[in-house]
Amino acid sequence: MDQNDALFRFLLRMGDSTLILGHRVSEWCGRGPMLEEDIAMANIALDLIGQTQLWLGLAAEVENKGRSADDLAYLRDAFDFHNLLLVERPNQDFAHTLMRQFLFDAWHKGMLIGLADSSDVRVSAIAQKSLKEVSYHLDRSRDLVIRLGDGTAESHKRMQDALDILWPYTGEMFVGDGVEASLSGIVPDPATLRFEWDQTLRAAFEQGNLVIPEDDFAHLGGKSGRHSEHLGFLLAEMQFLQRAYPGARW
């Protein structure tokens, strides 16, 4: 694969994942289980969407076809999105949202640490910037996963259910393909991120009395544009304005 094409694809994987998760988390705005969590989720959504502007902005620059970050966010259909399947999973209850966040944050932080060392200074700059924000995200999601996992019988059950359901969507984060292989030195090999991620999870789950499912089956496809039905509904809402009123400006 041509290195420029590979970089474009990789930047979409990053930017689409932060965009879709940012949108999902923003769905909680005004509906959080308590005021502090409502505010935390709105802030995290904002960080993720801010990071999206950087990743998709660079993707547009690398593609060099006159598209902007906004064009990429609002004018592509589901099969052109390259986000992880994990981030398009619906919010369900608070436990589910939180577990999804923790599984993602732990991976995200490791990925950004790897990207901060990128030989491409543009990639490294975005990663260094994002890393500071994501460290706070991980602190919060880890803390709450432990507290709710080790909380009441009800909160424990909900956290374990969420982990069981979301687990098959985590394997994809560590499976590389031609995109990463073409970008040696620019992006880390996804497989190398697994060990640290695993350590982070095990330490938190031990404190939170949560058990990692034994079956390691992994759904794949998000990173190459094959998505679950949930993404289409999300895009229908997120892209509505630009679809109904093309070119509308703030």
Binding site: E36, G50, Q51, S124, Y136
Partner: protein
């Protein structure tokens, strides 16, 4: 036609441009203006964002342009620079003091406020790592019982 302002003069003017979300401190107090250089007739101001999604960033660029234009500077270019990423270490000493006086505890390497900005008590507790803006956390004083903002250390 007024004389071309020098860089020191521009820095001084920028010191009067308030942060849109925390107007008690200026954009230079915040440490987000990284460089000012003259470029022919115009001036290039290099700015770095605090948080990548902070909505104040766009307003700050506009406010800088408006303030400099009001002083007669034309041809203002705002350059966004991501690296090195902004850190609260770049808050000036006077900026930290202004935050404290305003009721926002300034960042501290210990990861929490040194004292309650209202009553000065050191008996404080964290409510949430996320607060009213991306750069602040919510804390509470156990002595005067008032909640307060803490400027997060990043």
């Amino acid at each position: 036609m007024c004389e071309k302002p020098d860089v020191a003069q521009i820095w001084e003017w920028l010191g009067d441009v308030p942060d849109p979300e925390i107007p008690v401190i200026s954009v230079t107090d915040l440490g987000i203006v990284r460089d000012v250089v003259q470029d022919g007739d115009g001036v290039i101001v290099t700015v770095t964002p605090t948080y990548s999604g902070c909505p104040a960033t766009a307003v700050i660029s506009l406010d800088i342009q408006t303030a400099l234009r009001a002083k007669g500077v034309e041809n203002i270019t705002i350059k966004m620079q991501l690296a090195p990423p902004w850190t609260t270490d770049w808050l000036t000493r006077s900026g930290r003091q202004k935050l404290q006086n305003y009721g926002i505890a300034p960042p501290s390497a210990a990861g929490g406020p040194q004292c309650c900005p209202q009553c000065g008590s050191q008996q404080t507790e964290k409510i949430s790592q996320f607060g009213s803006t991306p750069c602040k956390a919510a804390w509470r004083c156990k002595s005067c019982l008032e909640p307060f903002d803490y400027f997060k250390c990043i």
